[in-house]
Symmetry: C2
């Protein structure tokens, strides 16, 4: 058998590391595959994709078609959530070759008596697989091909479409090539590709000055978040906070009495990763909050932060999961000469790694049981890659709806690998991509390279760890443009909530860190406050819900402008029925004008045919009819256009 | 163990189809590998290449070093012919991490007492592997690190080079990552990369008009070939020629009495692929010819043409190896409506494929026993790819010196796959690449892409099957430039001998085929004839032997010129001691002049420093000192420069 196989299948795309990692899609999306497929000699070949949901047994098949230069293409839809398997199959199609050659022989006026007999033999094979009704028809044709007296009629029949259809319907795949590795797709729910995040510290939600916020207080913020169009609320760790080496305000080595410490110093005598900090409420309060959030269209995302305070129960129960030093002390987190004494890293090189992995997985499972379906994973790049690959696969096989956001701000290849390992979304370098050149290059890398298949960017203009230099000016126009681009460049985005909304920007001098950071203390925000930025957030998020073009990221296309300060980009939904054009003035100080080249061919217009650009921010419309159009944006009024392209 | 592994190795290059196919090198050449290697966290990592000749058991190791952005590099030399295996290994280097961190802690003025104890533990592991002599030294350092009284001295010692050396020499690879697949290299003998081919029909070597040439006659041509610098003489099939459906002159369907037929219609009642056509001589004559050739520095290359005339003994002995039609006749070769009735294709889809493969392999083995080490494989693209992969591996494992030239003029991906399957050299599209743009693009594709690792081009300006339109004019300058470029663009090249030398160019009208083709008749050439082309061939081939820069192909670099008719390219040997500059006037009718940009940095010159360009064709020298220099080439005198760059 192996020696009879003649078709080669190679150079499959997309393919991640020889099929080791799954590509990502949203359930209902189409997966398009291409491969080089060819045989020796001149015979006709054929190819198909076999595909199925991993949980099912029966394969589905869909035909591939040649494009050019021995490259073939085919596609299928991943209808439901979960893992899908696919494989490419190809074979020499002798029956098809026979029919093609017969046509050429007849054209060359050759005698084809023997060829008709060969055709009858092909049909003998086909008739065995055919339906009862087809069998009657096929047997008639077989008899005809063998009837020397009906030579002319037999030729006509042999070259007819009916025979072609039978050949295509019942291919002989007894000698069949398979692509060397099965491919995998993971189909996520819609939110994996389109989500609007907000981060707040629940301890800072009390409206009573000096009082520790609770889950009940968080619930009170929901109407505000709903109004702004938020659909994921991410909470930093909600677990008991360690007492030993607790950090004080502004990361002081010693906490003063009454200071709350960093929520990332997880675990105390009250419990660890499956417990709740008493000050926030009870497990019942948590469950109630999750339910209440859902009523506002909001999902709660929890932090999955695999580290322990020195007081975490694991330290006593599983000392083998930590690193012990020759002096009998346990190793705390360090990046010499920096020290993080309130946090112990887990020693993933422990010989007891199997039990460790199972316990860590049980943490995620515990919160999934409480209704959590989204985890923001803290520093995944400081835990081993094989652990993530295993954990995410284990969880997703049971709970395909669960999403993991990788909080890794590190080197490019590490961030890419985390995407391949299965993280549903990833934080990005967006926070540090400011100029037109930087943004264009980076977004093209994310959306136009292999990364589009496995790395789903989530754009954040700020986080509790990142107070970017660009925003430290406190300029309203900067906060507006950085938000606007996050929300329209990327279909997944978020921001570190009240701090961003209220344009807080005080920094530790010379650093991209917040002064008086909420990481080490509680805050009391004015949850009734409003401003231009907040209103814009609501408008843009509403536009995101109403315009499919903004609900994906890889559909972006940058447009030429003749002014370096003006960045413009175009997005369109799959059916081509929703087309948006975003234009931003990157200059926070000065009005900028210039020409933008609109990709009119993408929405079916040619030069001099009028179309309307309708700005969804201020509900103003302009009629354009040319490829290049003039715009002017004033940072003190509104530095962005969010144009929907409409008919006149 | 698997769960403790933390280093990822990915994106290895070069790598062919996930390691399935071997890359190619010449024995003695260096293999340079790169891969992305990184771990979670901030620990130091290390990596090495394990490599060995496939026939040996013990692995050798060579260190890899980081280049940038998590990419690592290393290299090794494939000293001897045959298959080599390699694998990349990487690990977290805890001892190295300890030393690096210690340095930072000391710099940060931290107390490092415990760190010195940790270091002592690392050395405890190392001392077990160390030599007797080292053991003494290491134990002293261990004691020092544990001696609280000698704190300062211990720090100094711990940070010293001696400790670094021990750490490097005895890495702890107990938790080690391996690249998922082992890589393979095939190391060929020198001739695989540097060869000068000549094709002649032995039946056309008689000096007596009307007489069939013999192996003895071929021997008489050897001095001429040696003088011209030929080192491979390729003979079309030398086996008995079928009588049934024998072709006549100019491919006539019926041969006249006395016509010899096509040598590719292999097999008659006299024998098949292991027999010799009686008219040529005996097996002893053949063996004698092979020996005689060697005395002239020439190797005989035979045709490995897997097809049979209807009279081949296989047809009766192994009817299952052919395709039989419903009328009881055997299927001859066809490309409808074209028919090749004198040739039967082998049915590689036979259920008896195992015996077929073994018999076909025995043909190659038979001729290897007779002293043949080079096969020119006829139409490999019309036989299944798995067969070639198996055959070439089987032969090369026993006889690594054997070379296979793929005669596949077909679609790009098929030609590429044949290279990957193991063919040592491949015919190319050179015959149809004429303009500066065509030549530059094609040669860059062959030498600057992944193809450089597996596809060794062999440039032929003509073959018995290809009388290119470009040469049908018969212009001497065309014959000169097409030869000159074949010989200097590619280190492997050849030509269809007497026809090319003597500038025969009569074509079947409208086709790239020779009129009165030698494929269907014998010729009587004047083996004493000489002309300018023949003299040039001798000069250029001598230059190829004397200048290492011309003995490889991938070292090519095209140079800018300001005249589209002037093509210029530069080659340098590995040590940078031999630099050549070739310039060709592609206009066969007119003198062309223009400026050529010389890559002076590559031979260590900067502007205004004089150097000599010495034309090896006419032994003339010019002193240049600038990057751009003027040349003028007259097609009626000599359309090429073959400059060696020399010191003033």
């Amino acid at each position: 058998m192996q020696g009879q196989i003649r078709v080669t299948i190679e150079n499959l795309s997309p393919e991640l590391d020889g099929g080791r990692y799954s590509i990502k899609r949203i359930a209902g999306e189409r997966v398009t595959l291409e491969a080089d497929i060819f045989s020796d000699g001149h015979d006709e070949i054929n190819a198909r994709i076999a595909y199925k949901h991993a949980a099912l047994d029966a394969w589905n098949y869909t035909a591939m078609v040649p494009i050019q230069n021995d490259r073939w293409k085919g596609s299928f839809v991943v209808e439901t959530m979960g893992y899908w398997d696919f494989c490419i199959e190809a074979w020499v199609d002798h029956a098809m070759t026979w029919q093609h050659d017969l046509k050429k022989r007849v054209k060359g006026k050759q005698k084809v008596g023997v060829d008709l007999l060969i055709g009858a033999n092909h049909l003998e094979r086909i008739v065995k697989k055919a339906t009862k009704r087809e069998k009657v028809e096929i047997n008639k044709v077989i008899a005809l091909l063998r009837d020397e007296k009906k030579y002319e009629k037999a030729i006509e029949q042999a070259l007819g479409n009916e025979v072609t259809d039978w050949i295509k319907r019942y291919p002989d795949v007894s000698i069949c090539s398979h692509y060397p590795s099965e491919g995998k797709v993971f189909a996520d729910r819609k939110k994996a590709g389109f989500s609007t995040w907000y981060e707040l510290f629940p301890r800072s939600t009390s409206t009573e000055l000096g009082k520790h916020g609770t889950f009940k207080d968080v619930e009170k913020v929901f109407p505000r978040l709903e109004e702004m169009g938020i659909d994921v609320l991410y909470l930093p760790p909600i677990h008991p906070i360690g007492v030993s080496n607790r950090k004080g305000k502004n990361n002081a080595t010693v906490a003063k009495k009454g200071e709350y410490g960093s929520p990332w110093a997880i675990g105390s005598s009250e419990g660890g990763h499956k417990s709740i900090l008493k000050d926030l409420g009870t497990l019942e309060d948590f469950q109630s909050m999750v339910k209440k959030a859902a009523e506002h269209g909001i999902e709660i995302a929890l932090d999955y932060a695999l580290q322990c305070s020195p007081d975490h129960p694991y330290v006593k129960e599983h000392p083998q999961w930590f690193t012990w030093r020759p002096d009998g002390t346990v190793q705390y987190a360090e990046n010499p000469p920096k020290k993080y004494q309130d946090v112990l890293p887990i020693n993933f090189e422990t010989a007891d790694w199997k039990n460790l992995w199972i316990e860590l997985k049980s943490i995620a499972e515990f919160w999934i049981e409480q209704g959590v379906k989204i985890f923001r994973v803290d520093n995944p790049h400081t835990k081993p890659f094989p652990f993530w690959e295993w954990l995410i696969r284990e969880i997703k096989e049971e709970h395909p709806e669960v999403l993991f956001l990788a909080e890794a701000f590190t080197r490019p290849k590490v961030m890419q690998l985390l995407g391949k390992l299965g993280f549903s979304q990833s934080y990005t370098y967006y926070s540090w991509r400011n100029t037109k050149g930087e943004i264009t290059e980076y977004v093209n890398e994310l959306t136009q390279t292999e990364m589009r298949n496995y790395f789903r960017p989530n754009f954040w203009p700020n986080t509790p760890d990142i107070n970017p230099y660009m925003l430290q000016s406190g300029l309203e126009s900067q906060f507006i443009t950085r938000f606007f681009m996050a929300a329209t460049l990327s279909s997944n985005y978020g921001f570190y909530g009240p701090v961003y909304e209220m344009m807080v920007h005080d920094a530790i001098p010379g650093k991209e860190e917040y002064l008086n950071s909420e990481k080490y203390e509680a805050k009391w925000w004015d949850w009734e406050a409003t401003n231009k930025l907040k209103e814009l957030i609501a408008i843009v998020n509403e536009a995101r819900y109403e315009n499919e073009a903004l609900q994906q990221t890889n559909n972006i296309q940058f447009c030429e402008t003749n002014n370096e300060k003006l960045i413009a980009y175009f997005k369109q939904n799959d059916h081509g029925t929703n087309s948006l054009l975003m234009i931003v003035n990157l200059d926070p100080y000065y009005k900028q004008g210039g020409y933008v080249k609109v990709p009119m061919n993408l929405f079916g217009k040619s030069d001099y045919i009028a179309y309307v650009v309708h700005d969804l921010i201020n509900d103003t419309s302009y009629t354009w009819s040319r490829e290049w159009n003039f715009v002017e944006l004033d940072p003190y009024v509104m530095p962005c256009h969010l144009f929907r392209i409409e008919e006149v």
